[in-house]
Symmetry: D2
Subunit: 443 residues, 4 copies
Amino acid sequence: MKPKKIKISKVGTPQIPSSLKNKEWVHFISSENDVVAQLHKKNLLSEIEKGRPEFFELAGPREKIYFNPEELKCGIVTCGGLCPGINDVIRELVIELWQGYGVKQIEGFRYGYRGLAKADEIKPIKINPELVDSIHRDGGTMLSSSRGPQDEDKMIDTLVNRGIGVLFIVGGDGTMKGAHSIAGKIKERGLAISVVGIPKTIDNDISFVKNSFGFETSVQAAADIIDSAHTEAKGAPNCIGLVKLMGRTSGFIASHTALANRNVNYCLLPEVPFKMKGKDGFLQILKERIKRKQHAVIVAAEGAGQDLMRKNMRKKSKKGQKDKSGNEKLKDIGIYLKDELEDFFKKEEIEINIKYFDPSYIIRSIPANAMDSLYCVQLAQNAVHAALSGRTDMLISKWNAHYIHLPIEMVTKGRKKVNSDGRLWRTVMEATGQPYSMFKSKD
Amino acid sequence: MKPKKIKISKVGTPQIPSSLKNKEWVHFISSENDVVAQLHKKNLLSEIEKGRPEFFELAGPREKIYFNPEELKCGIVTCGGLCPGINDVIRELVIELWQGYGVKQIEGFRYGYRGLAKADEIKPIKINPELVDSIHRDGGTMLSSSRGPQDEDKMIDTLVNRGIGVLFIVGGDGTMKGAHSIAGKIKERGLAISVVGIPKTIDNDISFVKNSFGFETSVQAAADIIDSAHTEAKGAPNCIGLVKLMGRTSGFIASHTALANRNVNYCLLPEVPFKMKGKDGFLQILKERIKRKQHAVIVAAEGAGQDLMRKNMRKKSKKGQKDKSGNEKLKDIGIYLKDELEDFFKKEEIEINIKYFDPSYIIRSIPANAMDSLYCVQLAQNAVHAALSGRTDMLISKWNAHYIHLPIEMVTKGRKKVNSDGRLWRTVMEATGQPYSMFKSKD
Amino acid sequence: MKPKKIKISKVGTPQIPSSLKNKEWVHFISSENDVVAQLHKKNLLSEIEKGRPEFFELAGPREKIYFNPEELKCGIVTCGGLCPGINDVIRELVIELWQGYGVKQIEGFRYGYRGLAKADEIKPIKINPELVDSIHRDGGTMLSSSRGPQDEDKMIDTLVNRGIGVLFIVGGDGTMKGAHSIAGKIKERGLAISVVGIPKTIDNDISFVKNSFGFETSVQAAADIIDSAHTEAKGAPNCIGLVKLMGRTSGFIASHTALANRNVNYCLLPEVPFKMKGKDGFLQILKERIKRKQHAVIVAAEGAGQDLMRKNMRKKSKKGQKDKSGNEKLKDIGIYLKDELEDFFKKEEIEINIKYFDPSYIIRSIPANAMDSLYCVQLAQNAVHAALSGRTDMLISKWNAHYIHLPIEMVTKGRKKVNSDGRLWRTVMEATGQPYSMFKSKD
Amino acid sequence: MKPKKIKISKVGTPQIPSSLKNKEWVHFISSENDVVAQLHKKNLLSEIEKGRPEFFELAGPREKIYFNPEELKCGIVTCGGLCPGINDVIRELVIELWQGYGVKQIEGFRYGYRGLAKADEIKPIKINPELVDSIHRDGGTMLSSSRGPQDEDKMIDTLVNRGIGVLFIVGGDGTMKGAHSIAGKIKERGLAISVVGIPKTIDNDISFVKNSFGFETSVQAAADIIDSAHTEAKGAPNCIGLVKLMGRTSGFIASHTALANRNVNYCLLPEVPFKMKGKDGFLQILKERIKRKQHAVIVAAEGAGQDLMRKNMRKKSKKGQKDKSGNEKLKDIGIYLKDELEDFFKKEEIEINIKYFDPSYIIRSIPANAMDSLYCVQLAQNAVHAALSGRTDMLISKWNAHYIHLPIEMVTKGRKKVNSDGRLWRTVMEATGQPYSMFKSKD
């Protein structure tokens, strides 16, 4: 019985014996047989009944490679917002290429796709292991980044003109849509240029990627800020610590932070709309807590409560406004809550103190912690293995503790969200003790 | 088609409707159908061919519970060495019991099994949510711990005398052997006392437990110390930073640390014996590096090189010496390496500096980081769900991102080790660049 | 020659031999001769010519004390905003009173002066060493705090009714004004109640107090945020990291942070008004840097640029608005700068990215670092020594590395500010490289 | 009345107008009048009676400089053991020279005096601001270091051959002796080469230097380890956390750590010999505590108890052994205490657990914290000001909150020690509660 594998594109057939140093200890992956089941819970049974389940290709070094390391020139580009660990990824790409395979021509394109489209103006950097030796101690990306799309043909021209055989792209949802499109056009042009992605998102909202790199580091930073909010809340009479955290369309950071720091009393996500007013509304529930406990800690993801604000501010609304990456500009839930709370308690004639925390970029522009570093190292090593084997239009993901290959297309079809019926949200409800009734019913 | 489930014991049939607060949002787990496949890689296919794969029971709240929360009295005991997160586990057990189910009789047995066997002498503590409110900021365990077995009948007598219905045991390999034996004797005596384990090990060496809680925190602490060792190594001529890390029989901490902090040049584990002398030996290889680079960083797990030392120190050897938990006393690989290196380079007439780091307990007696806290919260919540449902002689584990129930017996049959043929070790070889030849061949 | 000492009030003559434990090693301070010169630079010489310089009384244990420790009851109250180390101070007051002198009646008034005025409603807490054992791991104050004055006679009534002999007051400028007034009324009433202050201010703006406790910890936290701002600034094209830091009327935090983290390019303080527009204005200077370097980091203290905003927003201005502590409500320099910069560069047709950081309370609600803890320990010990000796209407300060007694009146006459002609500001100019011309001349 | 100033040598008369950028805001220091009194406590009065007190020269920029920045070439060398902040000092020397004065020829000598003596073999590095931009994020020194003296004439030859006009030396006691000697020989040879020191010592034992740079950072790291020791001590029955800290001849780190982390019960220093045995001895006192409290935390400075060990191990003693810097090799107080405690409690038939912590270099090879960075910045700026003005054979120190010039000779006459009669030690006694009787009387 052969596994039903999700197919990965290649620019050509790998025929060169791998140049990996220390080949004695390398256990090469068999693309035929080394696979990881997509399903693993009870739905696996129904798949079995239907025939057999689907499998992902396992990442890792291949015995035969496609590109000749002595001739190959690789490019690296980092796009979109910052996130802990990008420098770890760059560093390991370089080390694995150079020391592992013997690829000694590596270029870094600066300022994301912009630098790739305008390489004449924004000169690429030659990268070697020495240059990247300690970049992982700094947050951010040594290559800088930018947002938004660029002319894809110009980008491919740059690759052709500079003789790039493999392009590594570190980026999120939007970047990956671009990468898929670039890979498509490369194919149309009949070029043997491999495009390999490493998925990056501070919000942890890329489909088919369990936890994105840097996510743990950000949750740690956010959890520390909850400590501050809790300290402030307990430090004055009727005091409310209000924290806004990143999370435009998905509340993974807010949820995980509320679980990691158990001092959160209310956790508001974009995925689970809540009621503000009325007997069951958040204001009323908060009032009761303040009377009972004299303090409270609220965490709101950036994208929470957008429905409430749209209604509220219809007149001022700049509907449809979008930022450079094409994301809709959000109303500020933090300021909204602060204002509404102040008004409400004033009317109720209850004196309160609100301490507002907007850590913004603080939680994302820091260096990766140890586990995220380790994760980046493995993503990068596997990206190099995949690229050298000629794979393209794909990215590296971690699925149930295994590194796998994914067609880029699979991850760009929609953003991952917190399932309001799922285990994560239920655990948050359990951990905060916030009442079910304050959330809107789904019908 | 029904899943082939790994069976979990129960003290009786759950018939009481769950007292979980906020039942509206709880998605109760169906013990019949909510399962997690044990296998997930290619071997899953052969299982399917043979009929169907084995499944673990998914952890989580059950619709019917066995114990009446209003009457139930629970006990908590923490055994063995410290590890980041024990206080997080205790705290969440208490919060989930008290606030989730309404169990308001909770006792903590102090000093591990010793306090359970000698409860008259070492008085148990009454625990409530207020008492545990901020214990997670401290490392260690608020209940203290101890090593080694105690009279099991006496321990069961304590449970009976104090009216304990559920005993939560936080501990490692040895502790779990004891827990299994206690559960067995409870069954023999016909008692309805549930024994639920939460696996704890700083070395991450418990079978069927992917990463044990506190492990990430320790790796972070160890990775920081590698920074120090690297700084020292580069700070003087021909300088070697030598770091000994915990890991008696398994090198998970050392391996993960070497991956998380890429400045490690040699990583020595108990599982992969290395040659000290000769052309291929470690000393010769190190000499070449020192000549080439003037510095080196070595990480050795506690249990590495025991074969070399046994040979070397046969005369002084205190063979068979064991500590209180029954673990064999190890020779000190750190001191051994330090001495051997000094001798060797003296003979070679090469001046070197050795900076020796033995962080010992530093990496384990710290508070859990955010992700470990979150992990502890979920282990504890699931332990409470399992216990209330009457399950016994089992522990909570995480398997491929899902919390599951495991019979204690399964985890006590052997310690998990780094597989010298597996992906982890290969990645360490790749990351350090240490040569294959310095390790002993397996035949 | 006798020193010309600055006089400290007493509630009575100390006649009881000190009850300090371990008297063998205590070197009692002679109030007559143990003194610290107020001046120490060249102006000391002119003082010498005039006769002799002024001296402060050295803090420390006295051989004779005024209060009988067996009968004495002490109160502790913490007022105003939070600051790292308040819990360290509370803890050490309790330990020194209890274990040092044998005072075993200690009460904590909750919620600052409010709890002191309304002790019937807000019950004071009995405090002992066990209760405070690990409070220093948490930021904030275990007693909570509040802002603003209260009826002084009611507060004194509380002291009388509860039999308090010594009141320790931890607070800032406003709090100390209150303390001085309370001490005055106590004297008028002929009561033997000692009032001893420990100066607290996150802004480091209390006169005659070199660095206030918690200040270093806050600067460390702020310096870490500059790293984030710098990382963001370098992570996108023409990107500006803009950080607002605490500092309403004095820019000590901003200045020290700019020196501790040398990535700050512009540092704006309340004390040194700057020009926004024109050839020499900040906007023009920033534009030149952005063209040259493509990134910049700006740090602005809360109170900076108020003159610019007042002019700018005259219409919207809520002049004279004050918060509960009587401080004038400030316009938001962060938002102002963000808006002005965006407008300016839009007009100049230069695309920029602004990453705005408002860490607000993040830098103050954290636990004290090691040196601040140590500092708090010594302030508290000396406060207890002073109080037991019957001193009153005074506070403990550190002057040139020595702990001294100061009449409260001396510190309430004006806030300390960064001297725009002094060494600190010059070093900031040197470190940032910001041009002299962008600041307004003083005449 | 003119101040009685401590004289500083010069290589020649400064006659060139300062090239300092932004001269408008620079307040040049008047060498005549800007002074800091050496004394400041009561002994100041007797000095006044005798005539007038002695003063130090205030550090800072001078209106006239000696060296022509356009022609000047500067060298930097770092010697002795590592310490947090060396890279901060190097970085700021370079920035102040380059950006402040316009000196653009800067060389770094590698591996301390060794690299200075053997510059042909160990090539110096050309340094510019870009190269040092982020070195302060790493601990250690980018120039590496070495211990021990080198041929002084060869070092001066290197300076002459390479055209160095100013040599900045970062180092400790021994290094400064060398620097003084080098400066002397330079004078003998009639050369106009300035030698300016920045004092460095992890042990904080340099005379006339209040707190050396990096000291606070180390105390913070050590205080964190006390938390671990305390956690372990409370985590097992009768458990003793034993921590050895740096401090060969002076116990400043141990003392400050005991004050910063109030969980230390016994603090042992080189300066205050203690009794081990007998009724009053440490063992007996510890036994009583263990019985009473079941746990204890002991901190011992490296150099503590040497008298006990010498007596104890007379036979094995390698008396007179010295390391490369000429320091006597110490017996290991940590191992000694561990062994003695185990023996003693075995004889007393009391079961104990000893958790031994030897953090060794962990506390010194880390990056400087914010306040230490700030301190390094100011030391380096002032060192550049002093050097440019032609001063030589001197170092920068901080005296009562002012940066001053000190003749190197003054600091090399003896090491600073904890005064067993002084305030620091008394506060440690107070904070630990350890009994006076366990220490040896001084006669």
